[in-house]
């Protein structure tokens, strides 16, 4: 009887270990498909961010879920920005509290992500507290947009209610303006959309830039 129980326990332990290893392997394999860069944690490759934006602005990367058409909670813009930043060297900041603005992570499978990954306002507060970027208040002086570099981020608070509504990537710069590439909600995804054209459409909105730290 005792020997039988011992055998049962042994099998149970082996099965449990097998299941745990299988789950861990599946999660690792699924998430390894996402383009996590091999660069050092603290370096930013601005060109990689721009290249990513140009590659996937209209032809969405199948390694990531599409968050378009999520009703009043915004679309795919911040998801796209997060993908590009990850491609440029931002490492995921893992934490169990996925609603927290101090974490920033994405799992391909199981299909979860932190709110900072997809929500423009949550991303704003993550960037603010992350030490990875400095804020630029473009609304206070439109000329400040020229301090932004390729790969930096621009966010818009359309209603000036203190909640960010949209996120975009700086992909081009010339003597006249900066140009932004982004995904949008059930509208037109854009490549190199001139800042002043966007501003002209919503002059009453508040515009903020995020100047990424290079190291």
């Amino acid at each position: 009887m005792f020997a039988k129980n011992k055998k049962k326990i042994l099998w149970l332990r082996v099965s449990l270990m097998f299941v745990a290893v299988a789950i861990a392997a599946a999660v690792l394999a699924a998430n390894a498909a996402a383009p996590i860069p091999a660069e050092a944690a603290n370096s930013i490759d601005r060109q990689a961010i721009v290249d990513y934006a140009y590659r996937y602005w209209h032809n969405y990367n199948p390694d990531y879920r599409d968050f378009n058409n999520t009703g009043s909670r915004g679309g795919d813009c911040t998801n796209f920005v997060s993908q590009a930043l990850r491609a440029g060297g931002w490492r995921d900041v893992w934490g169990l509290d996925y609603k927290s603005t101090s974490v920033w992570w994405y799992w391909k499978w199981p299909p979860f992500q932190s709110w900072t990954w997809v929500n423009a306002n949550k991303f704003f507060w993550f960037a603010s507290g992350s030490g990875r970027a400095d804020i630029v208040n473009i609304s206070a002086d439109l000329n400040r947009r020229f301090t932004l570099q390729l790969g930096d981020i621009v966010q818009i608070d359309y209603e000036r209610d203190g909640e960010m509504d949209h996120s975009m990537i700086v992909t081009k710069k010339d003597g006249y303006d900066i140009y932004l590439t982004y995904h949008t909600t059930l509208g037109r995804d854009r490549q190199d959309h001139k800042f002043l054209d966007i501003y002209g459409g919503s002059p009453g909105a508040a515009y903020y830039g995020w100047h990424l730290h290079d190291s």
């Binding site: 999520t70 009043s72 509504d165 037109r188 959309h193 001139k194 054209d197």
Partner: protein, 178 residues
């Protein structure tokens, strides 16, 4: 450790995992496609090709280029017509400007891509593009735009995007030779 203890620990782990998955799923649903309203078609919805309509969509969209766009002097559009009813055409429209470089190559300038609802009148002439052509992306849409059947047709595939890109690239090359 006896069998009962192991079983108890397993049950606890299972319940914790189950609770975690439940909470994550409940909250992540906030970011899943939902609550999207669909428009009723005007009259009969036809999922069919219409060369005249398709050409008119391109002409109309090419006229909508903004002054500040990069490559606006060589700006072209191509589309996949998803269908049309008695008042609107529904198409995936892809537009881009092109800049001719000194080495003779074209660089892509400002571009846009999206599912569009376009009102048409007599002879399939396009009257206007319905918002949200530049609708504030974080805000609710003013009204449902697409019949469900159109919306469910989804985004073009990579191959379809390549074909659209090739079409406007060829137009840009032809225009530069004129």
């Amino acid at each position: 450790m006896n069998y009962k203890k192991i079983l108890f620990i397993l049950i606890i782990i299972f319940l914790v995992l189950l609770g975690g998955v439940f909470i994550l799923r409940r909250d992540s649903s906030l970011y899943n496609p939902s609550n999207l309203g669909f428009a009723e078609p005007v009259g009969t919805l036809r999922i069919a090709q219409n060369d005249e309509l398709q050409a008119n969509i391109n002409t109309f969209m090419e006229s909508q280029i903004s002054e500040g766009a990069l490559g606006k002097d060589n700006y072209h559009c191509a589309n996949i017509l998803y269908g049309y009813d008695d008042g609107y055409a529904y198409a995936w429209v892809y537009c881009s400007g092109f800049i001719l470089k000194e080495n003779g190559e074209f660089e892509q300038g400002s571009a846009s891509s999206g599912l569009s609802r376009l009102e048409y009148g007599e002879d399939f002439q396009i009257i206007k593009l319905e918002p949200p052509y530049d609708h504030p992306p974080g805000l609710p849409l003013p009204q449902p735009l697409f019949p469900k059947k159109i919306y469910d047709m989804g985004r073009p595939s990579s191959a379809e995007f390549d074909a659209l890109h090739q079409e406007i690239y060829n137009k840009a090359r032809s225009a530069s030779l004129e």
